[in-house]
Symmetry: C2
Subunit: 307 residues, 2 copies
């Protein structure tokens, strides 16, 4: 009897075989690595693991578009950095503003409105925006091989989670549609929120203060807080995912730790040519501990899912 290949967009090779062998092992009720369904938890970084993060984090593209959209209400931005740089397309000045500049832009574009209003703003943006290189909506840029992994895991009783440095509510606007991950299985960075009654109607107001950054050490901390159990599979693509992979791989039973390496300049990006984030410590640890490293160029037949 032949069953359909659950990972048709993957070339035959070690990564594909490692993923399939892991799922077979933990679902084999008679085998030594069997894991009951309630403990089959898999966590996925988002930026660079489930969708592209080049030339900009998609959420940063959203924030820059919002600055341009809101500029009419903020005449002072024409002469105030880092907003002036955004409006003038002056990427050098914007880059020099660094993390503090990014935080100002995020504060001005992600706070001040209610949670319901922000959700609508994000959904409206996704409905119209497109990627500058691929000329497709961002919602059509999920990595097809990773969608196959998500679906194969869920078909085998796994619960799948996004665990990302990206904003939790920004991801929730697209996570179910793009990845089949419902809002309560999305974990991300967040700002503080205040509950208040406006004329008797309760609202949640987004404040311009960081509450939590879901990156590096923060990822296992957030996994424990939101999920309360250690995952048995983790997928990432940068040093920001190293601790999540460590925590997952250190569990008592069989586990799967996967790093996606961006090696395909033609079809996506080669981070050796156009660096994004860092993949050094996590890659060293992957090689040392035998984690699975995926080369997008060599291991993936297709890059993007159709919408």
């Amino acid at each position: 009897m032949s069953t359909p290949d659950p990972l048709p967009s993957w070339n035959e090779g070690d990564p594909k075989h490692a993923i399939l062998a892991f799922v077979d092992a933990v679902t084999d009720e008679a085998g030594p690595d069997h894991v009951p369904p309630a403990e089959r938890l898999a966590v996925f970084d988002n930026d660079g693991t489930l969708w592209p993060e080049q030339p900009l984090y998609i959420q940063l593209a959203f924030a820059l578009d919002r600055v341009r959209q809101l500029a009419g209400d903020h005449p002072e931005w024409k002469t105030t950095q880092p907003f002036q740089a955004v409006l003038e397309g002056d990427l050098a000045t914007l880059g020099a503003a660094g993390l503090a500049g990014i935080q100002q832009i995020v504060g001005a574009t992600h706070a001040g409105m209610t949670s319901v209003e922000f959700d609508k703003i994000a959904r409206d943006w996704f409905a119209g925006a497109e990627h500058p290189r691929f000329h497709r909506p961002y919602t059509a840029l999920a990595y097809r091989p990773m969608i196959e992994v998500l679906e194969h895991l869920r078909a085998n009783g796994f619960k799948t989670y996004a665990v990302s440095g990206g904003g939790i509510e920004f991801m929730r606007a697209i996570s179910d549609r793009m990845y089949g991950i419902p809002p309560d299985q999305v974990i991300g960075s967040s700002g503080k929120v205040r509950y208040e009654l406006r004329g008797g109607t309760p609202v949640l107001v987004r404040l311009p203060e960081i509450d939590f950054i879901d990156d590096k050490d923060g990822k296992p901390v957030a996994i424990q807080k939101f999920i309360g159990q250690r995952p048995i599979a983790a997928f990432g693509n940068s040093d920001g995912d190293q601790q999540m992979l460590q925590w997952t791989a250190a569990g008592p039973g069989r586990s799967l730790a996967v790093l996606v390496d961006h090696t395909d300049a033609d079809r996506e990006f080669d981070y050796r040519v156009s660096p994004m984030g860092t993949l050094k410590l996590a890659l060293d640890e992957a090689n040392e501990r035998g984690w699975t490293v995926v080369s997008m160029k060599d291991d993936w037949k297709e890059i993007f899912a159709t919408d």
Copy 2:
């Protein structure tokens, strides 16, 4: 055709009929109040709503037992308040130490260990401790009528969550077994946690600092952070649940807001005789807005589930 009563421990009356009518309405695909399964979310306070909170919050009983168990390693506690009061059973002095005293006790009993160690400590305690009045394990003290509600909701496509001022990891030790609520659907108060490598092995260390108090305004804030969607049903028993009920009831479609009123001195506790927390603002709002108020004495045939 007659189907079994899904709420056999409830007397016939307005609360039982309100719960059944709500579930019928939101699951009726042809009706005006239909809600798709992905939006059928129900949140439950824990202390006083799913299990007793008298004569002490169960988590406080755990903390006091831990002080007694750990006292051998802390000779200084014999002469240091509030620990001395715990060891001497001096409830007047303990009460006078107030919230600051409780925080010292919680810090000394809930922090310093890893997340894995704390989980074992809590499970071991539940395996041996029993309620001082009912002489049964705490795990046998879930309110049977509420278990029926949880099961009826889940049988109708609802996802059920605990949203409590209690400690998130303390509840997770029993939530699946007692309520059928898995760890990732438990939301509660939490302390800060630090990720570290100990001899190459990753651990999450519980720190003696409060991270978040999941009470009053904090409940809708936490619901948005953890769940990311507004529930359509909420169950509470005190003013600490008022904002959660407000937020739920203010949704765009049909909703159910329920307050459990402790009125049964014989079978449980009558808070008019032995006050616990406060139920004043939430009860006034329930009467004003037509929320459902459950009298334990009048509406519940049975109080406790068997283990």
